[in-house]
């Protein structure tokens, strides 16, 4: 069985590679049962190696696709920010207004490890958007709330505290009429308030764009982790066959 891997650039601008590889199998002659068991085992090992290689190539392709996606999302965000600066004035949208008082990040990342016992462990990143600093509750429910428009096999999930089940529990405990969506909006407004009370709608749009960019970046981080783990596996297998 031979591997033949070649990469072709789709466009010179973004250098996205499309991969194609062909397998050529030998026809196996009928053999005695003991030798058959050995060749079956070899077949399985080769299949695992092929799957690892495929996984690596897929993750690399997804990584490059996600990079294209983040580029266009960031461009949109910059354009909206520039429009907001034009509307509100350069003195109202700049870094001199940034809050340097002690405060913790509303948006953070949860890191976990997959296959901890394996030599090629991968990390999984999970974005936690607009976690309220007042709320000490931890939510165990996770929902795949984002439509995955990108051709990735990433299993990254977005944790939004907008599940109606938990919103009822929260309002029962605190006696507050605020739903989780309201809390998220409150956090967003707090973040925008650094630039004044009345802000341009373009600044709000920029905020949404950069939130989307964060989601894509977390997917990129997951894809990077997969890529490096599978690369290490393939590299080790290649070195093993060359010896």
């Amino acid at each position: 069985m031979l591997f033949d891997i070649c990469f072709m650039p789709i466009s010179s601008q973004n250098s996205v590679y499309c991969t194609m590889f062909s397998l050529m199998e030998k026809q196996e002659d009928p053999e005695p049962s003991t030798v058959e068991n050995g060749s079956e085992k070899q077949e399985e090992e080769k299949q695992v190696k092929e799957e690892t290689l495929l996984h690596f190539l897929d993750s690399t392709d997804s990584y490059l696709t996600l990079i294209d996606s983040i580029s266009s999302t960031l461009r949109q965000g910059w354009l909206e920010l520039a429009s907001a600066r034009h509307d509100m004035g350069a003195s109202r949208v700049n870094t001199a207004l940034l809050d340097l008082k002690v405060h913790s990040a509303s948006t953070s990342v949860q890191v976990s490890q997959q296959d901890a016992d394996s030599m090629f462990a991968q990390h999984r990143f999970l974005l936690r958007k607009w976690a309220s600093s007042d709320d000490g509750e931890s939510f165990s429910a996770e929902e795949k709330s984002r439509e995955n428009k990108l051709p990735t096999e990433s299993d990254s999930q977005l944790r939004h505290r907008n599940s109606s089940h938990y919103s009822e529990k929260t309002s029962e405990r605190n006696g507050s009429p605020l739903t989780l969506d309201d809390q998220v909006q409150k956090q967003r407004s707090k973040s925008l308030s650094v630039f004044g009370v009345l802000v341009s709608p373009r600044l709000r749009a920029a905020q949404i764009s950069f939130e989307t960019a964060l989601e894509i970046l977390v997917e990129i981080a997951n894809m990077r982790s997969t890529m490096l783990a599978t690369f290490d596996q393939v590299h080790e297998e290649l070195e093993g066959t060359q010896r």
Binding site: F7, M8, V109
Partner: protein, 130 residues
């Protein structure tokens, strides 16, 4: 077991940024800004006055902090400290190179792709640079 790097897991880790003003402002709008008790921020705004030493120090600091999971760095800034970025090989924090307004993303300079590209043939790497 002794040869495996220590793996960090965290429930609430930060995203650090080393980028230009607009990129940092945008991500701060999205709520990633953090200022600790020592008044240290999780971001560095790079402008014309920022020195390479400051960028190096910020990169070293962010990549060694336990509470940071991802470091976003504009690719043109990463090019200034390329030797440092390419020699970084820890899984956490993940160093992600992002484009900036004036400098579009170039996969040829990406440190992650540089690490894996030697698996590809020399022809495809050269043709990708056209």
């Amino acid at each position: 077991m002794a040869n495996r790097p220590q793996i960090r897991t965290s429930d609430s880790a930060l995203i650090a940024m080393i980028a230009d003003e607009d990129t940092v402002v945008g991500f701060l709008l999205a709520g990633v800004g953090n200022v600790d008790l020592r008044r240290k921020t999780n971001y560095l705004i790079v402008d014309a006055k920022t020195t390479v030493k400051q960028i190096e120090d910020a990169f070293k600091e962010f990549s060694s902090r336990e509470d940071i999971a991802i470091v976003l760095i504009s690719q043109y800034v990463a090019n200034m400290i390329r030797f440092l970025v390419d020699s970084y090989n820890k899984p956490i924090p993940a160093i992600l190179e992002i484009p900036s307004k004036d400098h579009p993303y170039d996969p040829a300079h990406d440190s992650v792709l540089s690490r894996v590209k030697h698996l590809f043939s020399a022809e495809s790497v050269a043709s990708g640079r056209r």
